[in-house]
Assembly symmetry: C2
Homo-oligomer: 593 residues x 2
């Protein structure tokens, strides 16, 4: 070992000890007679002291050392005169007797401080320096802890971690695959897994009973903000269970993680149906850190000659507590907000419930005080509150009001990153109609089981399909599918799986697969179902997202050691990059460029 | 839960309980009055009993159920009349009151027994059935345990598990990369990592201090037996350490794993230099479960007019204890063995040390009894032993004698799979000359540090290179590189790394990289070294191999859930496979086929 101690462990009780430390120069201060250097390693900072009076040579040497130089120093632990209560080692300093410069350092392109001025691109290019910042390293240490406690919990529940293959088969269903040309089987390609879904189901067929894996997955999608082409899942599957068992098991996991990692007790994970989530929050991942539920007002607004409301499929509002005093400017901001193309509303109606109980709305022309009172009652609005109403096509209006609700939550400081509200959203629709494709797609994936009481609907839809009458107006059967939502973020999702080969075939038919296509792509799974598949169900958590949530951050990027940018590039190593013609030839492929 | 208990947990003390079990039918026996079914799950087997006299309907139903049907049964735990001491549940059976067939099963293509008749290809195609066999599942459970204890050990030693990226940059040095065409950056490719080597070094530059990862790696090589295109490593790196620290840390890991997973105490991990390993075993991964060291006989065989020996660069033998009685046929077998092209010797000389102390050799014509006695002495051969000698070019002869030694070890039963002999092989050469390429290559990788006392040799070689005089006769400097060898298998290897940018540049030059090439491929690492790189060193273990060793198996395949065959195919899912033209177009590539 090049050191006797780390830079984070020496205390006053160590005073008098001869020690050797290694680390980087965080900062140095030349005070004339004395020079102080803060030496940094992963474990902390320790102050090194050099005295011009007692050791001029060494002190002169120390003065010449720059930031980020790597040192090995020997010296004596001494009590500090000016203690630093903010530092775990703040009671002591090292009276250095010997310095060895292990490596020099050029001046870094940005300073290694918690709040650096680097700018994103520069930080990404010099990620190895960015990772020296204690807050970024703390994020990755948190990630390690979340993984570690996840494994502890699942190991204790008899789950077996099984590694599934990375080089698998491409399937056109779902997102776009990354593919890997095969040299030994020219003209053929492996695909990188978007999830180990089929493999974990096969493990259930194999009798593994309880499986998990913390595993890299891949999606070749155009990257929206905060998406990564490679991401990590906590992937789990159980046999001989019903939905209730899965919900209980993973509720317990999440509670355990909050307790162990954050020291927070989560007392309950309420459940909300997808239908309710859409009705009351306009989202399948409601942020339940605050209430502000949607209240539908169609009945109360009808027939007053306000055409916008009368023509609307849905009139729906929220009550913003204590916002009656919003200025004209603030209300205009909100109107602009809802009219942004990403939100998509055509306008905003508001009503202030004044301190004296009178109500003043932007549509006074159509609605008298009595009418407005009925709104306020329905919305449980009290004096001082502001009612905000949107109207239009139901889906679009709900989506827009969801955005407005979140915006108001943010404005009102109701979305505290250190407060956590978890819930299950259940009873998702099995299918959704994708207009551009003109057909139904699996909302979760094609292996998701309909709710037993809705299987009849599957048969009806198949009948309609056979008669060529299947349309987007058909209401999907509900699925035994569930999402875990924390603070408005979908952190996990899963379903009870189909384990009956006939039902699985029906699903493929309904999704527009010919028998041949289904066999070609998922034949191995359907064949496996011939040999005794057990009832099974599972879930997958987005691990990067879960970690960023635990870390109280919006972006997942700083919870990934070496993330890619929005063009899918690693700007540090400069990947992807061109490869040699010889490599292409060996693979039997050519590029068009 | 569909069950109250598993098939492995009921005991005599549970007699009288009403239980519900789920599982697969392992076997059923119809004894006329009684029918018995063994119900199997991951946890064990439980006997179900059906009585024709007391419940004829249920018994008739039970008789019709085939192997591998999935059942849910309710019933009463009862003491068995004929107990089965080989089964943990062998004292009880379930008097079944209700059967629910959860799923039917076609007859499997092979029986689900420990020793099945499937044949490799069939087992691979139906891997999900193969995985039902308790011994295959036990292998994967063992794998889980090895991973778990590895993490426990390293976590306790302050290592942080950090996930490094899978989509990285292709580098021509080393084995062939798998590549992934980029859709967003057409004409460019990611590569899948052969190891996280450069990333873990960057993490050291970042101050992570102690890193590990159990991680998938990829190599597009022609698959020799028991190689997989994707494999798993335990990858580790430490800062501010010397070789000794790494050896001690990972000695402790391996001892811990043997203790926790196998209950075996490994008392010491001896160290052997590469030079000694080659001299005494003809291999850099000697199987030290048995001795049978090489003894060089050049001095004792010279000048007796036996041209084969006189002309040989090396005459070297082993002493096979107690084999003096080998028959002519056995000796011919050994001669045939060494003459096989894979072994490559031109012939075998033997000498029997008879019970009476006389020695009889195959070269009596040239060597009298006195001469033969000197051999026997040198080799510490005793009456009853057989001396086996090969001669020729040194390297080739050592390699051949290594094969013969292992063959003799096997024949003599000295390679017991339940006995473990671990050692470190150290002081590997830094470079090796590859004849076909006409240049030196890094034996470990280009980031390996020469031994400090051999750095002068690096400079000399650079000088020779500059003068165009570098030849294969140059003796490589030794490296601070080490392998862990267990039972003749290299399970891990690593090195102290170069952390000085000038030395790293020299190494690239010596390996034939132009400055430009080095910068293009490893610029990010060399740039990182500009900003204060700490001394660091690391190791990587072949996880699949380590598990198979712990499991006492020769093949890694049954320690991988879904392995690929020797053509790199997954015959179960049929991958790789052709992909849609649309996919190729989006990627901007075309196949030549």
């Amino acid at each position: 070992m090049l050191r006797s101690n780390t830079c984070g462990e020496l205390r006053l009780s160590d005073a008098g000890k001869e020690v050797i430390l290694c680390g980087w120069i965080q900062k140095s201060r030349d005070l004339g007679g004395m020079t102080f250097i803060d030496l940094r390693d992963r474990y902390g900072l320790t102050q090194l002291a050099f005295n011009m009076d007692t050791n001029a040579d060494l002190c002169s040497t120390a003065r010449k050392l720059g930031r980020e130089f790597v040192l090995q120093v020997s010296g004596l632990v001494k009590e500090r005169e000016n203690k630093n209560a903010n530092l775990s080692t703040g009671d002591i300093e090292i009276e250095v007797t010997k310095i060895q410069v292990l490596n020099e350092a050029s001046t870094p392109p940005f300073t290694i401080e918690e709040n650096t001025d680097g700018g994103d691109e520069l930080r990404m290019k010099y990620r190895y320096l960015d990772l020296r910042r204690s807050n970024v390293r703390a994020n990755l240490q948190l990630r390690h802890q979340v993984a570690r406690y996840t494994r502890t919990f699942l190991d204790n529940q008899d789950f077996i971690e099984v590694e599934t293959p990375v080089l698998i088969k491409s399937t056109p269903e779902g997102a776009r695959d990354f593919v890997v040309p095969s040299r030994m089987n020219q003209g053929e390609f492996y695909a990188l897994p978007q999830s180990p879904q089929t493999f974990k189901q096969l493990l259930m067929v194999s009798g593994f009973d309880r499986y998990y894996q913390i595993v890299k997955c891949f999606r070749d999608e155009d990257l929206r903000a905060d998406r990564q082409p490679e991401f990590t899942q906590i992937d789990c599957e159980m046999s001989f269970v019903e939905q209730e068992d899965v919900l209980k098991m993973f509720e317990a996991l999440v509670k355990y993680l909050f307790k162990e990692v954050k020291g927070i007790d989560i007392d309950s994970l309420p459940r909300m149906t997808y239908a309710d989530a859409m009705k009351f929050y306009g989202s399948d991942k409601p942020d339940t850190r605050f209430d502000m539920r949607f209240v539908e007002l169609n009945d109360l607004t009808k027939g007053k000659n306000f055409k916008v409301f009368d023509d609307a499929e849905l009139v729906v509002g929220i009550c913003a507590k204590g916002c009656a005093e919003y200025t004209r400017k603030q209300l205009d901001e909100l109107t602009d907000f809802v009219k942004r193309p990403q939100v998509g509303a055509s306008g905003l109606v508001y009503a202030r419930v004044n301190a004296d109980g009178t109500i003043k709305s932007s549509v006074d022309k159509f609605f008298d005080e009595a009418a407005l009172k009925t709104w306020a009652e329905a919305m449980k609005a009290e004096p001082g509150d502001l009612i905000l109403i949107l109207a239009g096509k139901a889906d679009k209006t709900r989506k827009a009001l969801n955005e407005l609700r979140l915006e108001m939550g943010t404005r009102l400081g109701l979305r505290d990153k250190n407060k956590f509200s978890c819930l299950w959203v259940i009873d998702f629709p099995l299918l959704e109609f994708i207009e551009e494709e003109g057909r139904f797609f699996a909302m979760h994936h094609p292996f998701t089981s309909p709710k037993p009481e809705d299987i009849a609907i599957v048969d009806e839809m198949l009948q309609l399909q056979a008669e060529n009458k299947l349309s987007e107006d058909c209401i999907s059967p509900r699925a035994n599918a569930y999402d875990m939502v924390i603070n408005g973020v979908e952190v996990g999702g899963g379903s009870v799986r189909i384990f009956n080969k006939d039902l699985q075939k029906k699903m493929f038919t309904l999704l527009g697969f010919s028998d041949e296509e289904a066999q070609k792509q998922f034949g191995f799974l359907m064949n496996a179902f011939e040999f005794g598949a057990p009832p099974h169900a599972g879930i997958a958590f987005g691990f990067d997202r879960l970690c960023s949530l635990f870390g109280g951050a919006d972006s997942i990027r700083d919870f990934i050691a070496f993330p890619k940018n929005n063009s899918g590039r690693d700007v540090m190593i400069d990947a992807p990059s061109e490869i040699a013609l010889k490599q292409l030839d060996e693979l039997g492929i050519s590029t068009k460029k």
